[in-house]
């Protein structure tokens, strides 16, 4: 009996210790590698999944002394939740608005770098829907990935734009990634879904889908870091070098991707198990400039904060002190 009690106490103690351990400390170090838990949103997408697949395939993480454990999320606030809960040390490609909203509610996170600058979204519909341009979307049901994601911000900004033109607002629905949006559009659950190049461009070329709006039409987001990389404060305090190293590898991966597009799409196709041909995947590079995927500088902080307030993620603008605490770019590579 006493032995059983002792065993149970030991088990309970170890579970408690594990539960109370700060993020980053749970990872075991294998062969001198530092384990870092990373949340990636919508992993099949170019801007989110590809740098991870390339860094893994090319051994960039191992070369830098990292062992990356990936957690995949639906994007937006789901990525922030993973970081806040400690499931992930770093969250990539989440919207600035979601991160700001979580921060003002007391979440222990920092925005550590830019991820995607500009709004690289497109919205599609069925040809028989009769939707041809963005004004047709007034009063319609449109999909986005998850609350607080850049696709959510995009729909809210588009709705606001339409309202300013005297048209009815959009009914935004949390649907998921581009494949989920396609299913929802095809089954009539929503009128228009979101995508990112190159997904569904082939269907658009074949006339199976029509593009009705583009992120470039909405607001002035061209020079705004619409998606950012965030990190848990405990992780940053405990292992700032791991955070710096990860960001270095992220930039290294993007440089390699733009230097080796053919090889990159092969890795993308195989790792994400995509049915699209390499030729189609290569067209993605027609839509992105290297500068749009740089991790620094982080432009448009004021727009991100204004959007967070405008779309209900924060009640009031951040103070200067809050801005300098939240936007901590000291973990960026020096050059």
């Amino acid at each position: 009996m006493r032995k059983t009690l002792t065993t149970m106490t030991a088990l309970a103690t170890s579970l408690t210790v594990a539960a109370c351990s700060p993020p980053g400390s749970s990872g075991s170090e294998e062969e001198g590698l530092t384990q870092v838990n990373i949340a990636f949103s919508n992993p099949t997408i170019f801007t989110t999944g590809l740098p991870y697949y390339v860094a893994t395939d090319q051994g960039f993480y191992e070369d830098a002394g990292l062992q990356v454990e990936a957690t995949f999320t639906g994007g937006g606030a789901e990525t922030v939740q993973a970081v806040v809960s400690g499931s992930a040390d770093i969250g990539t490609e989440t919207s600035g608005a979601a991160a700001i909203g979580a921060y003002v509610e007391g979440a222990p996170i920092k925005i550590v770098s830019a991820s995607t600058t500009g709004l690289d979204l497109q919205w599609f519909a069925l040809p028989e829907s009769g939707l041809t341009d963005r004004s047709d979307l007034a009063g319609r049901r449109m999909g986005y990935s998850a609350t607080g994601s850049s696709s959510h911000i995009g729909v809210l900004a588009l709705s606001e734009l339409l309202e300013s033109e005297g048209l009815p607002p959009i009914q935004a629905e949390a649907i998921g990634g581009p494949p989920d949006n396609l299913t929802a559009v095809q089954t009539g659950q929503i009128d228009a879904g979101w995508t990112q190049p190159p997904f569904f461009l082939e269907e658009v070329a074949n006339g199976e889908l029509v593009l009705v709006a583009d992120g470039a039409e909405i607001g002035d987001y061209a020079d705004v870091a619409m998606r950012v990389n965030i990190a848990n404060i405990s992780f940053l305090e405990e292992d700032p070098d791991a955070a710096r190293t990860f960001l270095e590898v992220q930039q290294q991966s993007w440089d390699w991707i733009f230097d080796n597009p053919e090889e990159a799409v092969k890795i993308w196709q195989e790792s994400a198990d995509l049915e699209l041909t390499e030729e189609v995947l290569l067209t993605t590079f027609d839509y992105y400039e290297r500068e749009e995927l740089r991790i620094a500088p982080l432009d448009g902080q004021d727009v991100l904060i204004a959007d967070a307030v405008e779309f209900g993620f924060a009640e009031e603008p951040l103070t200067d002190e809050q801005v300098s605490e939240l936007f901590d770019l000291s973990y960026l590579p020096e050059d």
């Binding site: 606030a77 789901e78 979580a102 509610e105 007391g106 049901r141 609350t147 629905e173 949390a174 659950q189």
Partner: protein
């Protein structure tokens, strides 16, 4: 008994309040119970919030009504037509233990992305225990009671109303209570997952926006609504047994 319950809950909430204020519990994850209670009180006068409560309540009532009526009728049919009961009772029991809730994407396609899909799914899930418990309740009515009724020349209706219904009611209401629990769970869970509808959607949005107080207010009200429904069904059971 009520006083003991209330005192125990009050002591628990007071301990949580102290733990949050002294930051033993992280206020980011667990808000002060006093702020949650204040939020619950103020939400009662908030039009938007009441609108969401009405949507969830409406979905629950409609799904439960469909499941209750259809379940009791189908259970009666399976009991009355014995070959049918023998053939389909195992199938209903098998469906009852299946994760039917995973069919929700199909319901979205059939009914659209709206409350109708949630109501249909909840009703389908809840009708199964109602059918099973109704059939079992009617099958288990003591034959001696029925023979006594027949010896008194009672009509079929009187036999049903005064002997069968009171005898079967406790088991039928057990099925209805389970059905109601399933309806509440499915409606709120689907609202949460799909982010459409009422309180479930509010819980999802509060969680995704890290508004812990709003989240606990919503969950607290869902618990209150669940308790109110269970109380209501207990009163109905007492009424049926008279």
């Amino acid at each position: 008994m009520w006083i003991v319950r209330i005192v125990m809950i009050a002591i628990f909430l007071a301990l949580v309040e102290v733990a949050v204020r002294t930051e033993i519990l992280n206020p980011f994850f667990v808000p002060e119970p006093s702020s949650v209670l204040a939020g619950m009180a103020s939400s009662v006068t908030d039009g938007d919030f009441l609108g969401m409560v009405a949507i969830t309540l409406g979905a629950v009532l409609l799904a439960f009504a469909i499941a209750g009526i259809a379940g009791v009728l189908l259970g009666f049919v399976l009991w009355r037509i014995r070959p049918l009961g023998d053939a389909y009772e195992p199938l209903v029991a098998a469906l009852f233990s299946s994760p039917i809730v995973l069919l929700y994407p199909i319901f979205l396609v059939i009914f659209g992305r709206n409350s109708a899909a949630i109501i249909a799914l909840a009703a389908l899930f809840a009708v199964l225990p109602t059918i099973l418990f109704t059939k079992q309740a009617l099958s288990a009515v003591n034959r001696t009671l029925l023979n006594v009724g027949r010896s008194l020349s009672m009509s079929s209706w009187n036999l049903f109303r005064h002997i069968m219904l009171p005898a079967a009611a406790p088991t039928i209401f057990t099925g209805l209570r389970i059905a109601l629990t399933y309806v509440l769970i499915v409606v709120v869970a689907m609202e949460y997952i799909l982010q459409i509808g009422g309180l479930g959607r509010l819980v999802a949005e509060s969680a995704l926006l890290f508004r812990a107080t709003d989240l606990y207010v919503s969950v607290g009200l869902i618990v209150v609504i669940s308790a109110a429904f269970i109380w209501l069904i207990n009163q109905l059971e007492r009424l049926a047994q008279r």
